[in-house]
């Protein structure tokens, strides 16, 4: 509960940061998020940082004059000062949470594209069985893996990435990669590897999806 209060306060305070202050602060937060620092300590550090940045902004002191040019080194100094011990259980919990969230989003997409048209056609007849098949699982695993790799990559390289100006060729390659991934995901569903892993009545799947989105909505409402 205390953590939620700090998160709320940090969001509110960070809205007051402008330009360079906001950009560097965001990079520091991204780098901290993928570190071993516990959630509670992360919020404490973010709270201290946002207060310092606001103070410097108020006094007209540049971030560079206060922490030097190497913002990554500054953040690493902070992390080593906290001396986080890798906590396997917390890491598993964190990644499990992300995986569950990803799968809930994938369930929603699958439901909207595969089952919702059927339900509408049958003029709400809920006697439909939801089959979770091996190709759906494979697609899910690919999406979750890419999502986790991207999050970690962006977090670990946030300082370098925010300085980089991507060329049109780089943008084109990124676009092509995304297109190839989409085609791959569609092809997987056409491979005919549709071994049913579990079957439930569509009502239960709708229940799971509704509970997830209501939970997301409430969480967002609390934050704001």
């Amino acid at each position: 509960m205390k953590n939620i209060k700090i998160i709320e306060e940090n969001i509110k305070l960070s809205d007051g940061l402008m330009g360079e202050y906001d950009r560097i602060f965001t990079d520091i937060v991204c780098y901290l998020r993928v570190s071993n620092v516990s959630d509670e300590e992360q919020e404490e550090i973010i709270s201290d940082t946002v207060m310092m940045f606001l103070d410097w902004q108020e006094k007209g002191k540049t971030v560079e004059s206060m922490i030097g040019k190497d913002y990554k080194k500054f953040t690493e100094n902070i992390i080593s000062a906290v001396n986080p011990k890798p906590n396997v259980l917390k890491t598993i919990k964190k990644y499990l949470g992300l995986i569950v969230e990803c799968f809930c989003v994938i369930f929603t997409v699958d439901f909207v594209f595969l089952y919702l048209p059927k339900l509408i056609k049958r003029n709400p007849d809920f006697n439909v069985t939801y089959n979770y098949t091996s190709d759906m699982l494979l697609r899910g695993l690919i999406v979750v893996s890419i999502f986790l790799i991207l999050i970690n990559y962006i977090g670990k390289n946030t300082f370098e990435l925010s300085k980089k100006h991507f060329s049109k060729l780089a943008d084109f390659i990124f676009g092509c990669s995304a297109a190839v991934l989409l085609i791959l995901l569609v092809l997987i569903s056409k491979l005919g590897m549709d071994i049913v892993i579990f079957s439930i009545n569509i009502r239960y799947m709708i229940g799971i999806i509704v509970v997830y989105w209501v939970y997301k909505g409430v969480k967002k409402a609390i934050k704001h």
Partner: protein
């Protein structure tokens, strides 16, 4: 070798503890006081990780207070553990300073 920041690395925490022992202060004030004593290259950004370490080791306590001019500020005060740490630092510093002084007793700072 003659880099001032290298000398400072091991002693800055002790200096910060001394400043905090005088009165309750916030990060920017600590940096300003250090500058007044001649440590011009020290900024609030440099000392924040040190303050974090001191707080983590329970040498200092902190409290957030509203500021009349801008955002809240985190004020630091010395804990009883911090007082002991400050005393240990000062004793060690004294011994080291005496030893170095003895080594340099007959050195006149010759021109090269």
């Amino acid at each position: 070798m003659g880099d001032k920041s290298q000398f400072l690395r091991g002693t800055l925490e002790g200096c910060i503890l001394k400043i905090i022992s005088d009165e309750e202060v916030y990060g920017y004030e600590i940096a300003e006081k250090l500058k007044r004593y001649g440590l011009y290259e020290v900024s609030e950004g440099t000392i924040y990780p040190l303050l974090l370490r001191l707080e983590k080791n329970s040498f200092v306590n902190s409290i957030k207070k509203e500021s009349a001019l801008g955002p809240k500020r985190k004020y630091y005060s010395l804990s009883s553990l911090g007082k002991k740490e400050l005393k240990d630092f000062y004793d060690n510093w004294g011994e080291l300073r005496d030893s170095i002084d003895r080594i340099f007793e007959d050195y006149g700072g010759e021109e090269i």
